[in-house]
């Protein structure tokens, strides 16, 4: 970082500190700090990620994806493709490069520079000259490097978290798209039932057996079913496009195939031991908070020791904006000449900032534990619901249909009751599909709650956590 000095005295004062610096210089790594990110993601999702930086990388990704797209896409393949091909994720990896560049930059002495400005306001002319000397960067280099190191590590965790989030979103979109596709199939069946009913009704009226009223009633079922099918088809397109976007596919690739059916419900739900403890160890947001905290502890110690090196603003400059794409994130280091203020207030402030962060981290941990419990409960209950649909509701509706068939045989009911029943049965199967979809989504959300970061609305609440600011 460069310090702008306007007086010679300042330069002289600063020069006093010169011998203190020149600690370890950083240099750009081979992989831009990407391999820790890869292993963080691999440990948590079992999937590889790739930072596409060259033509060769892109070709490699294309080669990996092509065979996966040639057959009906499994959920794991979908996640694999998204992790390799999602452009937003690539952008977040680039953030990693920026952070590393910053880190390296912080370990280097900047070039001296001169600037000259001429501004005119009416008849006034203002000429601004400044000389920037790298001396000061020598003085602040140790502090800056330390901070940049932390920022770099955070960037790595953030990139890994982004990857996991994309994996979660992809699974969500995958199951939604697949369920929507199946729903269309069942709505088509409902429509066929309604069509048969409407056609029979027309014949009944033509034969003089039915009034216009009865015919109109049966026809209105058909009309409703047509709309329902159209809506289902619309939903299918929307869900599929959501998935396509996450997979980063376009043109011909977007014609990928999904399997016929959602994966079956597992034989038994996952039993998880101490999920809260595991979450504390594996969740990336918890890891980030811990590092943030140790960093703040470091600056507190530094503030106490030096009293006139002000790096407190590191915590304050995480500015969130409600609107706009990003947050402002950074720090400044300031050297002061201790003439009037001996830094007592600053130490107190540093302590308060530290304590604030401690409590925010604690809150984060409490929230994370709660989230993971909630995710597990949702997982279990969606499992139970899906199983209930599979083992109870669908077979029951089938049994009702079978019994109705017997009643039809005995001329106890007519064909229209059978058709209405067939519609009901198709609807129950559709309910089962939705329940199965919800289970798989809950399954993914549980994975995310255990390893990634809050995927719920928690981070949209004001002051919810320090991590929201830190990431």
């Amino acid at each position: 970082m460069i310090f702008t000095l306007t007086t010679r005295r300042a330069i002289r004062a600063a020069a006093v500190l010169l011998p203190l610096v020149l600690a370890g210089c950083a240099s750009l790594s081979q992989d831009g700090g990407y391999s820790p990110v890869q292993s963080l993601v691999k440990e948590r999702s079992g999937q590889d990620i790739q930072w596409v930086k060259s033509e060769d990388d892109a070709a490699g990704v294309a080669d990996t994806i092509a065979p996966l797209l040639a057959k009906p896409l499994s959920v794991d393949d979908a996640v694999k493709i998204a992790l390799l091909n999602n452009k937003g994720l690539q952008a977040s990896y680039s953030g990693l490069g920026i952070a590393e560049a910053d880190l390296v930059q912080a370990g280097r002495v900047a070039n001296p520079s001169l600037s000259f400005g001429r501004l005119r306001r009416g008849d006034d002319i203002e000429i601004d000259r400044s000389l920037m000397l790298p001396v000061m960067s020598l003085l602040t280099m140790p502090f800056a490097s330390k901070i940049e190191r932390r920022r770099f590590e955070q960037a790595q965790l953030r990139a890994a978290g982004d990857a996991l989030a994309v994996a979660d979103e992809t699974r969500h979109a995958y199951f939604s798209a697949l369920a929507a596709q199946e729903t269309v199939k069942y709505m088509e069946q409902v429509k066929v039932a309604a069509e048969a009913g409407a056609e029979l009704a027309r014949k009944m009226a033509a034969a003089g057996n039915w009034s216009k009223l009865e015919q109109a009633r049966e026809q209105s079922f058909h009309a409703d079913a047509t709309v329902q099918l159209a809506r289902a088809a619309q939903a299918q397109v929307a869900e599929r496009e959501k998935l396509t976007r996450l997979l980063g596919l376009w043109s011909k690739q977007a014609a990928f195939q999904l399997p016929e059916r959602l994966p079956d419900l597992p034989k038994a739900p996952q039993e998880i031991g101490d999920i809260e403890m595991q979450a504390m160890q594996n969740r990336l947001d918890i890891m980030m908070a811990k590092r943030e905290l140790s960093g703040l502890a470091g600056s507190l110690g530094l503030t106490k020791a030096t009293r006139f090196v002000n790096i407190l603003d590191v915590g304050l400059m995480h500015n969130n904006y409600n609107q706009g794409p990003s947050r402002e994130n950074g720090y400044s280091i300031q050297l002061e000449i201790p003439l009037f203020d001996w830094g007592g207030a600053r130490v107190a402030k540093a302590e308060a900032l530290y304590m604030e962060a401690v409590n925010r981290s604690a809150q984060l941990a409490v929230n994370a534990r709660s989230e993971v419990r909630q995710a597990y409960a949702a997982y279990r209950s969606s499992y139970e619901i899906a199983r209930h649909y599979r083992d109870e509701i669908v077979p029951l509706k089938k049994r009702i249909s079978d019994e109705q068939m017997l009643r039809y045989n005995g001329m106890l009911i007519g064909v229209f009751t059978l058709l209405a029943d067939a519609r009901e049965q198709a609807r129950s199967v559709n309910g089962a599909i939705e329940a199965l979809r919800d289970f798989w989504i809950a399954d993914s959300a549980l994975k995310m709650a255990q390893t990634g970061r809050s995927s719920t609305a928690a981070d949209s609440k004001p002051g919810a956590s320090i991590v929201a600011a830190a990431d």
Binding site: E195, L200, M204, A207, G410, M411
Partner: protein
């Protein structure tokens, strides 16, 4: 079938299965005889007391009694029973002594009768002796003439059977439920002189109706008109036995109606007269010939005829709905509706679906699985195929030279050659031309055709 254990053992210990009757009390009660079979039982010739010509209860039986100091003692036990409505279908009913309807009680004009009624139902009951002249306090109307007989209790009714004729018994307590569940029975008071109103064959049964949802066993007790099983003595055809007669027999059929609608009872091949009503015997001069007699709700009729014509003669209620078993009331009419093009579509959703009803309701020889405990709608097959009847239908079988007491089903009638309707095998030319109405076809309204124009009063000119 009749459990006669210890029956007629006088004052000896009569231990019956009635756990509700105390030992001390049991010693004094006549045995409660029970019946488990649903077949018609042979008539019970009176072993003691005044002589009479016993009746045959269609798919039922007569309750034995004991004489005690000149009093005829009967024991009725009101209890839940399992009644076979027809082979393949059973119903959870309430009845008396193992059956619904309960056993027929036969006494003779002038008999002093004592009836013990033990209640093994879960709610109170009473017995009303429908049509009898008796002391008011013996009329069996809960609240009005007696308290209800509580579960586990035994009440005693005692009166003299004053008037000969045809009667019924049924509860006059929670009637809607108890009659819907089958609580009823027949009562005959024979004339003192057995030669008076003598018939060679004397059949009796009650008309009753149940609403048993296909696939279930217990009647719906709140049904008022929409019954789906119409029965003679809680039996539906083909579960109703034939009434077997010897050619030339004077035959009497006594019918009591305890349903909630009237039944035009119709006999084929013979004319009959209504010889008895609720009020007693009709004087011969006032009887007129009929082939159908309407039996109103709560009424009894005794019809009589000479069984002169050999054959198997249909005998049934003439309301066609009453000669069907369980049938859907909301089934749309499919006559004339060609389902061929739609069939594929329907089969896509309902694979077992078969189009029915396009040519009418007859199902021919088709056999299709039905819900549990459900009688096919029209069944019973005869020597020429399906009889297409159910419910209130049976036959009067007249044969030559049967023994007086032979009520055994003689099988199907063998028609002498040339006495059965036959198929015309000649040419069209040799067939006489069928006469047609002058404008046949031209008169009928067609679907969509405006038949009637309604002019509302006041819509033309304003007052």
């Amino acid at each position: 079938m009749v459990s006669r254990r210890n029956f007629m053992s006088g004052a000896g210990a009569v231990a019956i299965g009635a756990s509700l009757v105390s030992r001390a009390g049991a010693a004094m009660l006549p045995e409660a005889v029970t019946m488990t079979a649903a077949a018609t039982q042979p008539p019970l010739s009176p072993p003691n007391g005044r002589p009479y010509n016993p009746v045959v209860t269609l798919n039922g039986w007569t309750l034995p009694w004991r004489m005690k100091n000149g009093v005829k003692e009967f024991h009725l036990v009101a209890e839940p029973v399992l009644r076979e409505i027809a082979p393949g279908m059973k119903a959870n009913l309430w009845g008396y002594n193992g059956q619904s309807p309960g056993p027929t009680i036969e006494v003779v004009e002038g008999d002093r009768v004592r009836i013990f009624v033990t209640n093994k139902l879960p709610e109170h009951t009473s017995v009303h002796w429908h049509g009898q002249r008796l002391p008011n306090g013996m009329d069996g109307v809960t609240g009005l003439t007696q308290p209800g007989i509580q579960p586990g209790k035994t009440f005693v009714y005692e009166f003299v059977a004053k008037r000969p004729g045809t009667f019924m018994y049924h509860p006059h307590a929670d009637e809607m439920t108890q009659m819907a569940m089958g609580m009823m029975g027949f009562w005959i008071t024979h004339p003192k002189d057995p030669s008076q109103h003598r018939a060679d064959r004397d059949f009796c049964f009650l008309l009753n109706a149940y609403d048993i949802d296909p696939g279930s066993y217990t009647p719906k007790t709140s049904t008022m008109l929409d019954f789906n099983l119409w029965t003679f003595n809680s039996r539906a055809f083909p579960g109703i036995d034939p009434m077997v007669c010897s050619q030339g027999d004077r035959v009497r059929i006594r019918v009591g109606n305890l349903t909630m609608t009237n039944h035009p009872i119709h006999l084929h091949g013979h004319e009959f007269v209504v010889a008895g009503t609720d009020g007693g015997w009709t004087p011969p001069a006032s009887r007129w010939p009929e082939v159908t007699t309407d039996i109103a709700v709560g009424q009894m009729r005794a019809i009589e005829f000479d069984a002169t014509e050999l054959g198997d003669w249909a005998f049934h209620c003439h309301k066609s709905h009453h000669t069907m078993n369980a049938m859907g009331h909301e089934v749309p009419t499919m006559i004339g509706v060609d389902q061929r093009d739609v069939l594929a579509k329907i089969n896509q959703l309902v694979p077992d679906y078969m189009a029915m009803g396009e040519t009418g309701g007859a199902m021919g020889e088709m056999e299709m699985p039905l819900p549990d405990n459900t009688l096919p709608m029209m069944t019973g097959s005869g020597p020429f195929g399906g009889i297409e009847m159910g419910g209130m239908f049976t036959t009067v079988k007249v044969r030559k030279g049967l023994a007086r007491n032979d009520y055994k089903d003689p099988g199907w009638y063998r028609h002498p050659a040339g006495t059965v309707a036959y198929e015309w095998k000649g040419s069209d030319a040799s067939m006489p031309a069928a006469a047609r109405a002058p404008d046949a076809g031209g008169m009928a309204a067609r679907p969509g055709e405006k038949v009637l124009k309604v002019i509302k009063p006041g819509s033309q000119d304003k007052h």
